[in-house]
């Protein structure tokens, strides 16, 4: 290869591709094209050789997937036979171990477990004497009943996740959380709601009472005012955990119901946390809904908890509403990688994942993109997909605690378009942001509220973090303008 050709290759590989004459010279020279092609193959293979998983690991991964698939693809008759054998074994064991009286108790409990709440019409009759206007907040002044957690009404439960809860326990008073006084206590149905909600007997997952919500005519927004948030919750990005048990009375498959958030209203100021993941239910069974709510810079008083049922045509039961503090550990992202407050892109956040697979989005640190502080990251992915990577050195991984999970979180303001994120920790599977309503992990401004704000959280298993070259890529698919800020990477202890 002569000097001229070497020079052209140098210009091309250096990314100096603005000169049309240079580009034409390369394009019209098949020898150069072939040389660049061979170089590109070399780049890809070197990358593969140096960073892909080992042969043994790859084989193990394929085997694991095949085993998993074999397990789920077993023919129905094999599953039925296995189930029968287990049942026979359990019955034989029970008869052998338990005295006759205990066996009767078992049968009784099975009946209780099969208990379904009474039909809506029947319940309405039952409550007619105590409910004056079912479209308004119900005031059922039944005699105080202590909450007894019998678990007798549990159909099934799917817990999404559990977080470490600090000792303060539930921030909500018992009457607002478990409804065992037989009334809605301090909960209200907002004036602009079309649907209604009321406390009913046998509508709780545990105890005797729970809230029945009816959106057959339209939305029903529940509001609990006057929540006092401890000062500690409002600083240092400390999250709250909101959880409740919820059941859809008619769901045959997975249905979404609405969203929850904390809002603040005082002196004409109105703040609200992001809607986050919508609660959902399926197969008429009780679900444990659980999510984190980040209330940053909220004043401690005049706060409200909202549980908004926004999908018309549904009936829900709601019980055991808990708002608790979650322990938050220090942000392991070093210095400026979290908030961009130097006003410049940080050295350990790179746009290019590797040669030949470059980020095509326009990315810039500027003031307009700040969600907190002075600067944020402005991203326009209309030209193409954004691919950012936090390099290994962006993290302080020197003294890792004994936890199983880490969270990468960041704030997003959707300015325009449809923001669809994907988080990829090295060596792990892609983590899409789960369970956004209707459109999977994609978010449009209309879905996340007028302010377009949302907190994105992705779980990362500790085993990946402990690897010698841990890093995380954040992808934003083509077609959105977003502001990103407040990146945090923290260990989280889960129960």
């Amino acid at each position: 290869m002569n000097e001229q050709q070497i020079r052209l290759i140098e210009l091309y590989l250096s990314g100096q591709r603005d000169d049309p004459e240079v580009m034409a010279a390369i394009k019209n020279n098949p020898h150069l094209i072939e040389e660049l092609a061979r170089d590109k193959v070399a780049q890809r293979l070197i990358k593969h050789q140096l960073s892909a998983v080992s042969e043994n690991e790859f084989t193990a991964q394929v085997s694991a997937r095949l085993r998993q698939q074999s397990a789920t693809n077993r023919p129905w008759w094999a599953v039925a036979v296995a189930a029968c054998l287990v049942l026979v074994a359990v019955v034989s064991l029970t008869n052998a171990i338990l005295p006759p009286q205990s066996t009767q108790t078992l049968v009784k409990n099975t009946e209780q477990n099969n208990h379904q709440p009474e039909p809506v019409e029947h319940q309405q009759k039952l409550n007619a004497s105590t409910t004056n206007d079912s479209s308004q907040l119900a005031q059922i002044n039944n005699q105080h009943t202590a909450k007894t957690k019998t678990d007798s009404l549990i159909d099934s439960e799917m817990s999404l996740s559990r977080f470490e809860v600090v000792s303060e326990g539930n921030l909500l008073p018992a009457e607002d959380a478990y409804f065992e006084q037989g009334n809605m206590a301090n909960w209200q149905v907002t004036d602009d709601s079309v649907g209604f909600a009321e406390v009913r007997r046998n509508a709780g997952k545990t105890g005797q009472y729970g809230i029945y919500v009816n959106t057959l005519a339209g939305k029903a927004d529940l509001l609990l005012s006057g929540i006092m948030l401890p000062e500690s919750f409002l600083k240092g990005q400390t999250p709250l955990r909101l959880s409740f048990d919820i059941k859809n009375l008619s769901a045959k498959e997975n249905v979404f119901g609405g969203f929850s958030r904390i809002s603040h209203m005082s002196n004409h100021q109105y703040y609200r946390s992001v809607q986050g993941r919508w609660f959902n239910a399926h197969k008429k069974s009780w679900q444990k809904f659980e999510r984190l709510i980040w209330v940053e810079n909220f004043p401690p008083s005049h706060n409200r908890l909202e549980i908004n049922f926004r999908v018309a045509g549904q009936e829900w039961l709601l019980d055991n509403i808990e708002l608790t503090h979650v322990a938050r550990y220090k942000n392991l992202l070093r210095g400026d990688n979290a908030g961009f407050e130097s006003g410049q892109e940080t050295p350990y956040l790179v746009e290019k994942l590797y040669p030949g697979y470059e980020s095509q989005a326009f990315v810039e640190v500027n003031e307009a993109a700040a969600i907190d502080g002075r600067y944020g990251l402005y991203v326009d992915s209309y030209p193409g997909e954004m691919k950012l990577k936090f390099l290994h050195w962006a993290f302080d991984l020197s003294d890792l605690p004994e936890v199983e999970t880490y969270w990468l979180t960041f704030d997003v303001r959707v300015v325009h378009g449809n923001a669809s994120f994907e988080i990829r920790p090295r060596g792990g599977e892609s983590l899409t942001i789960p369970s956004w309503p209707a459109s999977g992990f994609a978010m449009t401004q209309s879905q996340v509220g007028d302010d377009g704000l949302v907190k994105v959280t992705a779980r990362v298993p500790a085993e990946l973090v402990k690897r010698s070259h841990f890093d995380i890529s954040v992808h934003l698919k083509k077609g959105a303008i977003v502001h990103l800020d407040n990146f945090a990477f923290s260990p989280i202890e889960e129960e």
């Binding site: 170089d39 050789q49 140096l50 042969e55």
Partner: protein
């Protein structure tokens, strides 16, 4: 492992024996993975497709004729999966740079054939082991640790074009080493 050995494991795998099929995965994964890695820009996607190829092969074992060799069959599955993927992810070509990229991809299609990549991958592994420590460190920083050329330039106090060409020459060195070991251009 000979073709007769392959058939031994294939017969077991047909009866749902995942462990037996793993023997074949271990034997041919290099060919499939190097082939896909050489042809695709996104290494993660290439690895995913490589796994997918073996999973599809396992599911279709009953369609596989034992008179034929397993390797070309699974490579064919991988190539089909890759073509489907690329058809969906095909970029819009709008300028001169993309035109060159397209010409390069056509050239790569000829260079990185189904047959040759396994041996080249194995040779590359050996060549990397023999590579000068400083060069290898630079490759690791760039390809594994994600340092951009710009960052390497700052760190090593050299011009951008110098760093670009240094990396190019190291790759060229490795290409020559691979050619020497495999006898393929």
């Amino acid at each position: 492992m000979t073709i007769a050995d392959d058939n031994h494991w294939l017969n077991k795998a047909r009866r749902g024996d995942v462990k037996a099929f793993s023997r074949l995965v271990a034997k041919y994964q290099g060919d499939v993975r190097y082939f896909l890695a050489s042809r695709m820009q996104d290494l993660d996607e290439a690895e995913d497709l490589a796994q997918e190829a073996f999973i599809v092969a396992f599911q279709k074992l009953n369609e596989f004729s034992q008179d034929k060799a397993f390797k070309p069959w699974v490579m064919g599955i991988a190539a089909n999966l890759m073509r489907n993927y690329m058809r969906k992810a095909k970029p819009v070509l709008v300028d001169e740079t993309n035109e060159i990229e397209r010409l390069m991809e056509s050239a790569i299609e000829k260079i990185a054939s189904v047959d040759s990549m396994g041996s080249r991958g194995a040779a590359l592994k050996a060549c990397l082991d023999e590579l000068d420590g400083e060069y290898k460190q630079l490759l690791i920083m760039h390809y594994v640790e994600g340092y951009t050329v710009g960052e390497l330039t700052k760190q090593l106090q050299v011009k951008h074009s110098t760093m670009t060409m240094r990396l190019y020459r190291i790759r060229d060195l490795l290409r020559k080493c691979v050619t020497g070991k495999t006898g393929e251009a």
